[in-house]
């Protein structure tokens, strides 16, 4: 589950990480009030940032032509005007796709004087099954680009999960980032707090980019998380009720949210050949087979190991809400699941949804003979296939017809 920047900063602050002062808001009047408060405290600049689950917000363009989802403002009036232009408006960034994303929330924060920028992230190292801290002197830029053009600029540190991050490791990392003097200690403390946030919140990833040395008007320096991204392990939300409440359904595709209510795992794609499969691996492989025979998959859909008639019907309804779909492939390996149960579910679903699109069904496994005859005697004009290859070929041909 992904969090917004302001939510990530709340979690980080709770674990002792310094973040620039500010508040989220949903109206331009609120934005003005928060900005006035920050200016009253002596801030010279206030930064206004849209809160959507996407990178590249600053360079995004709104559908009405308004440019940029991040703005530095010198007055409360300016904040009000920009907030008004962005709230409710839809922005397109390099990650949102053409449809873009509607803006519901803004973060109004102090615009800090930045002296230096770094990158810091904590994630799982899948090769070793241990936590990995990644840091770089090159902050504020795309880390994947740094990894390609200047891999030596990235420092990696593995953490023993049973010991946790030791203070000396934090100091070494701070020093590798070029911090010195007092900043070694505050840097080490910040790294330790970021690690603690990752561990205690069951995060899949915490990414702070940029991590900044900021300077107060009195000339004193400190290290703060100026931008932050956190994603949480969905399987651990049962022990984080407060974080679970941070879920923003506005940021999730409507069909995917609806599918999850029926225990279906659905991901919408751009093609025209829909598929309905049991098992995640087989569902991916079915998409690949569609592509292999020249089609483009419209979705990933795993109905799970014991799909009921109700689930199959829900799956059809969700598939049919995608206007790009031209043909549907049902691919089931009935291991424990009875193929006839699936066949009956398919027949019921086709009748209930009054399906008019071509439908190819491939059943294999437990009680497949009865399942096939249920399909054959249903009076429906569906196409059957004996192998996955044949099924994929047929459905691609139907979609192209």
């Amino acid at each position: 589950m992904n969090l917004h920047e302001y939510q990530a900063k709340q979690l980080l602050a709770r674990h002792g990480v310094e973040v620039p002062g500010g508040q989220p808001c949903t109206t331009a009047d609120e934005a003005r009030a928060i900005a006035e408060d920050l200016f009253a405290k002596g801030q010279e600049m206030v930064v206004l940032k849209i809160q959507i689950h996407s990178g590249g917000r600053g360079k995004g363009v709104f559908k009405d032509g308004f440019k940029g989802g991040v703005h530095l403002c010198k007055s409360a009036d300016d904040v009000h005007e920009k907030a008004k232009a962005m709230l409710g408006n839809t922005i397109v960034t390099k990650q949102t796709g053409e449809a873009g994303r509607q803006v519901h929330t803004l973060l109004v924060a102090s615009g800090e004087k930045i002296v230096d920028e770094f990158y810091l992230a904590v994630l799982l190292d899948r090769e070793t099954s241990r936590p990995l801290i990644m840091a770089s002197r090159e902050g504020g830029v795309d880390i994947e680009e740094v990894a390609e053009t200047n891999p030596d600029a990235i420092v990696k540190l593995q953490v023993d999960p049973l010991l946790g991050l030791r203070p000396y490791q934090g100091r070494n990392l701070a020093s590798a980032l070029g911090l010195d003097g007092k900043l070694i200690h505050s840097g080490a403390k910040l790294i330790s707090s970021v690690y603690k946030t990752w561990w205690e919140c069951d995060a899949s990833m915490v990414e702070i980019n940029p991590l900044c040395i900021i300077e107060s008007p009195d000339g004193s320096q400190k290290i703060a998380a100026v931008d932050a991204k956190i994603s949480i392990d969905g399987n651990a939300l049962h022990r984080h009720k407060d974080i679970a409440e941070m879920r923003d359904l506005n940021e999730e595709a409507k069909l995917e949210v609806e599918a999850s209510k029926f225990g279906l795992n659905y991901i919408k794609l751009d093609g025209s050949v829909a598929c309905l499969v049991n098992g995640a691996g087989l569902a991916m492989a079915t998409m690949d087979a569609i592509k292999h025979y020249g089609g483009d998959p419209a979705n990933f859909l795993d109905v799970g190991g014991s799909a009921s008639t109700e689930q199959v019907t829900a799956a059809f309804r969700i598939i049919l809400k995608d206007p790009n779909v031209k043909a549907i492939l049902v691919n089931i390996f009935g291991g424990i699941m009875n193929c006839n149960t699936i066949a009956e579910g398919v027949v019921a679903a086709v009748k209930e949804t009054r399906l008019t699109l071509p439908l190819v069904v491939r059943l294999e496994g437990n009680n497949v003979e009865t399942g096939d005859s249920t399909l054959a005697n249903s009076g429906l004009s569906l196409i059957t296939a004996d192998s996955m290859a044949e099924a994929a070929k047929k459905v691609v041909a139907e979609a192209a017809a």
């Binding site: 899948r126 049962h238 098992g279 691996g281 087989l282």
Partner: protein, 296 residues
């Protein structure tokens, strides 16, 4: 011969009184598997289906019945504890079927069991099957949730991250007259107890295994690591399939571990590494058995 389990391996089931665990214990018993004990804290003294004694803890269950392997069907919030209990009881094999265990729990489990003699398979996996020689492979050892009847006793090893793709491969082999030594589902989670490589080493050392099918998917680099080892060390023919060529980056494709992140874990990279290791690649999943047969 086989790896991990033999038809006479004695198995206990943690979470035997849950509906899912109970149903699959019943299917294992019908398959002829030696399920000798169940564990559900607080239900000691009861019996599962009037035959299998239930104990409060794993250590006692193992001591009383001689069980050396465990199947874990315990719900996700309690599953890591169940794994550690089984390891602490000194079982040789622990197979965690449970899907949805928090990653942090598995990071701790992996670190805690390092150096122990127990082999952990899973979590989020279909389990392990060593087929028997009876009708529809009856009499084998089935730990987990795979359909027993699709198997056939023989000499091909199968290792996979996905349940239904394993069944596809097994069924293709069986339909082509090729039996299996052992089929191992290592699971779809990002922190698995055993990797492709761990299992392929066991198959390579097993005189009863003649050829191997390795099924992978996007996410992580376990397939690349296995391929590198196979290139230098494996003496047996290996065929493979990778799912997820069409998966969009940054999206979790059903399995918690099936995600391309930061440009890493793509199907293309895995297929290239496997081809470079001389592994016969099935382009589509219907060709998995075929890909192996042509190099046997």
């Amino acid at each position: 011969m086989a790896i991990l389990v033999k038809p006479d391996t004695k198995v206990l089931v943690q979470g035997i009184t849950g509906s899912f665990g109970g149903r699959h214990t019943q299917l294992s018993l019908e398959y002829g598997t030696q399920v000798v004990a169940g564990v559900t804290p607080g239900k000691a003294g009861q019996k599962f289906e009037d035959t299998v004694p239930i104990f409060d803890g794993v250590a006692e269950a193992a001591r009383e019945t001689g069980a050396t392997a465990s199947a874990i069907f315990v719900p996700p919030p309690f599953a890591a504890d169940a794994i550690l209990e089984a390891v602490d009881a000194g079982l040789e094999l622990v197979v965690a079927i449970t899907e949805g265990i928090p990653v942090r729990d598995m990071i701790e489990v992996r670190a805690a069991i390092q150096g122990s003699a127990t082999r952990l398979i899973g979590p989020n996996c279909p389990g392990v099957v060593t087929p028997g020689t009876g009708k529809d492979s009856h009499g084998g050892c089935r730990i987990g949730i795979a359909p027993g009847y699709i198997h056939k006793s023989g000499d091909i090893g199968v290792v996979s991250r996905s349940g239904t793709l394993t069944y596809e491969a097994v069924w293709q082999l069986t339909c082509n007259g090729l039996g299996q030594s052992t089929c191992v589902g290592i699971g779809g989670d990002p922190v698995p107890g055993s990797t492709h490589l761990d299992i392929i080493k066991l198959f390579n050392d097993d005189p009863g295994t003649r050829g191997i099918i390795m099924i992978g998917e996007i996410g992580g680099s376990a397939e690349e690591e296995a391929a590198a080892w196979i290139k230098e060390n494996c003496s047996k023919p290996v065929a493979g399939f990778i799912a997820g060529t069409t998966a969009p980056p940054g999206r979790r494709m059903g399995h918690a571990g099936a995600i391309i992140s930061g440009g890493k874990g793509t199907a293309e990279a895995k297929i290239a590494a496997m081809e470079a290791a001389g592994i016969s690649i099935a382009e589509i999943p219907s060709q998995m058995a075929e890909a192996l047969i042509k190099i046997l």
